[in-house]
Amino acid sequence: MVAEVTVQQVEQKPSWGGGISPFGVSWQKLMMWIFILSDAFIFGSFLISYATSRASVGKWVDTGKVFALHIAGSEIPLLLIAIMTFILVSSSGTMALAVANAYERRKKETVRYLFLTMLLGLTFVGCQAYEWTHLIVDYGVRPWWNPFGPPQFGAYFFTLTGFHGMHVLSGVIYLGIIARQVAKGVYDRRGSYANVEIAGLYWHFVDLIWVFIFTMFYLF
């Protein structure tokens, strides 16, 4: 009798009346989405500032030339960035596989794909370290000066790729913690692999940001 009344009350409650979840997700996942949105606004302001600045100076830097790689004597434009994009998209795929395996609670596969994702993330950061070193040491690029064109280029290059690289590096650490918990069987005992999916949201978001940095900063 008492139980029946409770069920009825729950049914009659409007979606936004409190006490129930209007979004239909756990609070942990909702918090991650809120974080992702706020982070999207940080990168959004960077990109808007960059676009406005660039529109105001007219002629910009030929990024194809600056980020070219020389292979067997010929210069292939933007090759380094293409490789980095390839690596990050690959890592997004392995992360998706980790989450798919986590749904099925396959511990070993989940850990394996998480490690693969971390490895690809580290490779990406490694490429970026090479890129920064190359520009800073070989070309003398600084946030206030560069030999290629408008001085704003340096500031936006370091801010955009720096913030993004920090996100990848934090993601690698984050995934490391999650992988350790999976391996120790924490989520088996808890009966939920939800944390792997939430970590996946973060990782895919970092890839999402790269899509726009790749397009707006390197390709345009």
Partner: protein, 107 residues
């Protein structure tokens, strides 16, 4: 009814795509990235390049958000709450870039 009284926290894995879907999306992301790269290196210029690259970027973003970030399988309330602010972000971009252009014209 079942929708309203859905338990919190443990519905993870209740609705999701088979692994094959993830692999297909993954493949498309590679293809779209490769196309974007070629649009750049064949030296397309002007509006054609801008429109092509924008469409490609939005397609990639859509695929990542819909499938990899599972928005395809979430409730519409959550999808709207996430997508609406992002549209405002684009509106801000569209609103402010002409300002940059105006500065360029006066230089």
């Amino acid at each position: 009814m079942a929708d309203v009284a859905r338990p919190q926290g443990e519905q993870v894995g209740a609705v999701h795509a088979p692994i094959r879907t993830y692999l297909t999306v993954w493949g498309w992301l590679f293809v779209l990235s490769a196309i974007a790269y070629f649009v750049d290196i064949i030296h397309l210029t002007g509006w054609l390049k801008v429109v092509l690259l924008t469409v490609l970027a939005l397609m990639k973003a859509g695929l990542i958000m819909a499938f990899f970030m599972h928005l395809r399988f979430e409730r519409l309330t959550l999808v709207y709450a996430i997508v609406a602010p992002l549209i405002l972000l684009v509106a801000m971009l569209v609103g402010l870039v002409p300002d940059g252009v105006a500065v360029f014209v006066r230089r």
